[in-house]
Symmetry: C2
Subunit: 392 residues, 2 copies
């Protein structure tokens, strides 16, 4: 079994780029990763791409060979679709492919084009990540689903509505602070707790600033075997040392508990076990905050907090950049943006930059050696967790 190193990462700006196609965005990210790695395209043996709604947003399926062609590759290419965790599974299988020795160099990432449609159309597209028969036909949208999860959280732990909203507003405000220096982020601007609390409601108790934006963007990560990195004298000090995946019942109504995400519990346990660490070893995390409540559930699933204890973490400062366990130094989905099929790859790219020291927020976590990424699909019916480590 070979060790797996991150040789290079590539990101487009996350934001509103309605004039750009998915292939164009992905090619930019892929070529940036190649430049960053200093690995020739001809050495890439496989391409794994995540994409969620290309058939609806661009009328384009069969994206993998098309994106490979756009990036100048001629290797086998496979598309993964796992809703908002699409790039997470694409990276996971890339890690396993390199680890097994099936390939030495795999490019993994994802892309989503979203802003070429208006918000109601995008909301409809995103709904295909929920259960069409038993949720969507009943009128569920994702803001509504996460609102139910937030209400269930408050009910379970006896939290009153005002405290719930304040704690969630602190999550949003923290992630905006982190995004300010991130040149790839959709919103490089401050959001105060007061602004978040004053925002119009989307689905009570969630307001506008509890929700991540609609975003175009692409991500790419060039993964290589330890042997390839050594043979080619690559600067690839960050290793992917753990990978895990979990699944849950699709519809909220079938879950045992609306305020728990066992798919992420399972993915985290698997990834920690794979890496030979436990949650205490983690220095920094990128988690799937599609809604502020999702970040709370994530840090509980990752074992950083007991159920009910994660809500106040941002308010207490523990998950802020200067806290004990900074979460979403990239800005998260909330402020960096959430091009759905690209997000899982972006988390790996951002974490690699953070750990190797060239992220604008790296100086906040100068001693960080272990980072975790948490990527979720739908209302966490699927989840992927990775553990990255500074290896040398």
């Amino acid at each position: 079994m070979s060790g797996v190193r991150v040789a290079g990462v590539g990101l487009t700006h996350f934001g509103s780029h309605p004039e750009r196609t998915g292939r164009d965005l992905f090619a930019e990210a892929a070529l940036s990763a190649k430049e960053d790695a200093g690995v020739p395209l001809d050495d890439v043996e496989q391409l794994n791409v995540g994409n969620f709604a290309g058939p609806l947003s661009e009328g384009q399926g069969h994206l993998a060979p098309l994106l490979g062609e756009a990036a100048g590759l001629s290797c086998p290419a496979t598309r993964y679709e796992e809703a908002c965790a699409s790039a997470g599974v694409a990276v996971r299988e890339a890690v396993r492919t390199v680890r097994s020795g099936e390939a030495d160099v795999v490019l993994a990432g994802g892309v989503e084009r979203m802003t070429n449609h208006d918000t109601p159309e995008v909301t409809e597209s995103l709904a295909i990540a929920a259960d069409e028969l038993f949720e969507v036909r009943a009128g569920v949208t994702f803001p509504a689903a996460y609102a139910l999860m937030a209400e269930a959280y408050a009910d379970s732990f006896g939290i009153d509505e005002a405290d719930l909203k304040t704690d969630l507003a602190n999550v949003a405000s923290k992630n905006h602070d982190n995004a300010i220096p991130n040149e790839y982020a959709q919103y490089q601007r401050e959001l105060t707790v007061e602004q978040a609390l004053d925002a119009p409601p989307v689905a009570e108790p969630l307001g506008l600033f509890d929700c991540c934006p609609i975003t175009d963007g692409a991500s790419a990560v060039l993964l290589v075997s330890e042997e390839y990195a050594a043979d080619h004298d690559l600067d690839a000090e960050v290793a992917v040392v753990g990978t895990g995946q979990g699944a849950d019942r699709m519809a909220l109504q079938d879950r045992e508990h609306l305020a728990r995400t066992p798919a992420a519990d399972d993915a985290a346990a698997m990834a920690y076990d794979d890496a030979g660490i436990d949650a205490d070893a983690v220095d920094v995390a990128e988690v799937h905050d599609c809604f502020t409540i999702a970040e709370v559930l994530a840090i509980e699933s990752l074992g950083f907090y007991d159920p009910g204890e994660g809500l106040g973490a941002a308010r207490r400062g523990e998950t802020r950049a200067d806290g004990d366990l900074p979460v979403n130094l990239s800005g998260g989905l909330k402020a960096k943006g959430h091009p759905v099929g690209a997000t899982g790859g972006s988390q790996i790219a951002e974490m690699a930059r953070i750990l190797r020291g060239d992220h604008p927020n790296s100086d906040k976590v100068a001693d960080a050696e272990v980072g975790v990424t948490h990527n979720a699909g739908g209302t966490v019916a699927s989840a992927v967790v990775h553990v990255l480590e500074v290896a040398e």
Copy 2:
């Protein structure tokens, strides 16, 4: 590296089942595979599913956890989309996962629900497997694309139109003959060469019976490690000994040759190399005959015929059930049917049945020991080839 065995296979009837959902179809196939294998569901460590157009046909993405739930599984579940090769890549990654020791038991397969829409709608859905910007907007449909490939084939090798049509009609007639005893096939009925030649044109030179039908269906294959099979005393004599994948430029206009499928050449070379065999060793093949010309291109890519020589194979009887190298004993996509995202898994299931001796056509190839499957996406911008062998 572990050997990989086919412990069990499951198929739904391929045909018109507009009242059945994708989850319902897949659950039937998955539970059949489980019964066939005699492996408890709790032992399944991963689910890989192929699906192509679920977001368009059922308004359902994020299918993997949903299908896992429908089949009674609680393991990680991943959706693969590679147009008509979706289940091919799902099986390929399952093979690699078992081989690497990451899991001992993986369920792989696919599902497609198509007949709940009318033919123009389905044609539009299928078009997302072509290049939206440079083919679809120019009016290309898949029958038209394959018609261009057939014309290019005839032009390249100096074949006149009447001979081309007759040879293609022989492919269709052969595959219908093979489907007659197959209880899973959409068309268990004879098609004479004359009937095929008399059919209305769809896209010249292709007539109605050169085209595969629109089909609902699902497939599942339970793959296990050799060690697991031995430890559990499973009847799993068929091994997957080779896997390969290839990619090509997406749009026909960018190809070097319209009548060649280099993605399949590459996939075949990789799979043969992986299996340690060459084309001469193959006794029987299931190939991707979405159109009759596609079977011709496939048997050339697989190395059974030189370019230009594959066209007459069915007419000459060589690929018929009583020929030297029977092709599509299942009936193929043409007569068994083509539920797009399920087809790659169906090919593996049919080949396993053929080789282990319980297929209605097994008696035609009683001594067969090596079988090949060939699954293609779009106009073969992607291709997956597997080699199966009787191991004991």
